[in-house]
């Protein structure tokens, strides 16, 4: 098991954003994390990656209790993440951003080696032509890819992806999904938060569904997608809705 959560809860004042989340994540898998807005998905990432300290429960990463670790300690241990609301280092270039990811990540490369890794990674996510542009001048979609590149450059064991597909159009999504798969194929374990159902269904080995901070379902994409609780809380009936809308617009 690369990651184990035991009864992790997180409160913000009176709000219980996570309650008693427990699961094990085997190495080499892609775990899809879905749930309605405000369900606590990002909070879970924050609690795993050391940005928040859980109010209760334990987080075990590669056999080590990391519940109270700082974010940079997690990075050194081999965890990398992207931010849902992007956080580029605006006044550094795209390449410098990625170099930093590599320098301070698990492998802690020197600048020279990190530069090489950065170039590879940028090529991989398709940002190579923008290497020398200031990160602040990218648009949101590009910034998302930069987040991804920075995380990858750290060569993590576990990669946490927070809505990296948001803002991409369907064909771009297809491309990104391929990227995610090939990262997994290199042996990196991935947890992926996503609202783009088709993609997350196709790429995940397992799905975990959160609602109001609690796990309401867990299993293969197929099982989860057919779970009535999940449909009610999260999916709705897409076909029905689409048809409804189309008829009305024509009328």
């Amino acid at each position: 098991m690369i990651l184990q959560l035991e009864g992790v809860s997180k409160n913000f004042g009176g709000l219980r954003a996570l309650s008693d989340v427990t699961f094990d994540l085997p190495e080499g898998q892609i775990l899809g994390l879905i749930g309605p807005n405000g369900a606590g998905k990002t909070t879970l990432f924050n609690s795993i990656s050391g940005v928040y300290t859980p109010t209760e429960g334990r987080v075990i990463f590669r056999g080590q209790d990391v519940t109270r670790n700082k974010p940079y300690e997690m990075a050194k241990l081999g965890m990398a993440r992207t931010h849902q609301i992007v956080r580029p280092l605006n006044e550094l270039t795209v390449r410098e951003n990625v170099i930093a990811g590599s320098c301070f990540g698990r492998e802690g490369h020197g600048l020279k080696a990190a530069g090489k890794i950065a170039d590879e990674v940028l090529e991989f996510v398709g940002l190579a032509p923008r290497s020398d542009q200031l990160a602040g001048s990218l648009n949101v979609g590009q910034k998302k890819r930069l987040e991804m590149a920075r995380a990858l450059a750290a060569r993590p064991y576990l990669l946490l992806l927070d809505e990296v597909l948001a803002g991409l159009n369907p064909s771009e999504i297809g491309h990104m999904v391929d990227i995610v798969r090939s990262i997994r194929d290199q042996g990196v374990t991935i947890i992926m938060i996503e609202h783009v159902m088709k993609a997350v269904m196709s790429v995940s080995d397992r799905l975990l569904v959160l609602d109001y901070g609690s796990q309401i379902a867990e299993g293969t994409p197929h099982d989860v997608a057919n779970d009535p609780k999940v449909i009610e809380a999260y999916l709705g009936d897409p076909d029905l809705a689409l048809r409804l809308m189309r008829d009305e617009t024509r009328a």
Partner: protein
Amino acid sequence: MAILEIRDVTSGYGEVQILWGTSLSMEEGRLTSLVGANGAGKTTLLRTVMGSIKPWQGSVWFNGQDISHLPTHAKAEMGVVLVPEGRQLFTDMSVEENLEMGASPKRARAHVARNLERVYEMFPRLKERRAQKSGTMSGGEQQMLAVARGIMAEPIVLMIDELSLGLAPVLVLDLFQSLKKLKDAGLTMMLVEQNVQMALAISDYGYVLAQGRVEIDGPSRELAENEHVRSAYLGH
């Protein structure tokens, strides 16, 4: 009648040109969608309309008036409202204060209470969290707030950049339905949307932007069936 019209606009950032003579027009009471690949210039176009960046050439017309060189706030005051990419919330202010800020234009001030009710009905989560600092909300909650804030302005033309970004599927459906209602109430809208299929499904007219130029435009239904559009943007 075209209520908002963009004529041959070129613009960009610093020395980098992004838009190369783009024209489009929005008919009153209709829903127009604007689609295109990542980096095509959709956001740049909307920013140019609002005046956040100045057009280099060309002009923007609203209600038969050239508004190209009005400051952003004056356009908002006239009823041209943008829900910007990246949400741009007042992160240090509460949810309700954000909504009140949305109601800044004079035209919206009289109906703050009614509009609050309306958006709270659309997004019950916002009502639940009316006192929460908006910066601490989840990504999707922030998106709801951004859209709601736009509606609070009582716009004549409402432009939404990346409507469904980060929203759970069930909510996207609800939201599309709400927009439908707004349209029925006479609001003119422009949607920038990555979910091209859905966007074309609910809109009347569509523009496809590629590399800063309008590549194809036409009634949404036709676009949805267009071979090129299907292969390039719908992923089949």
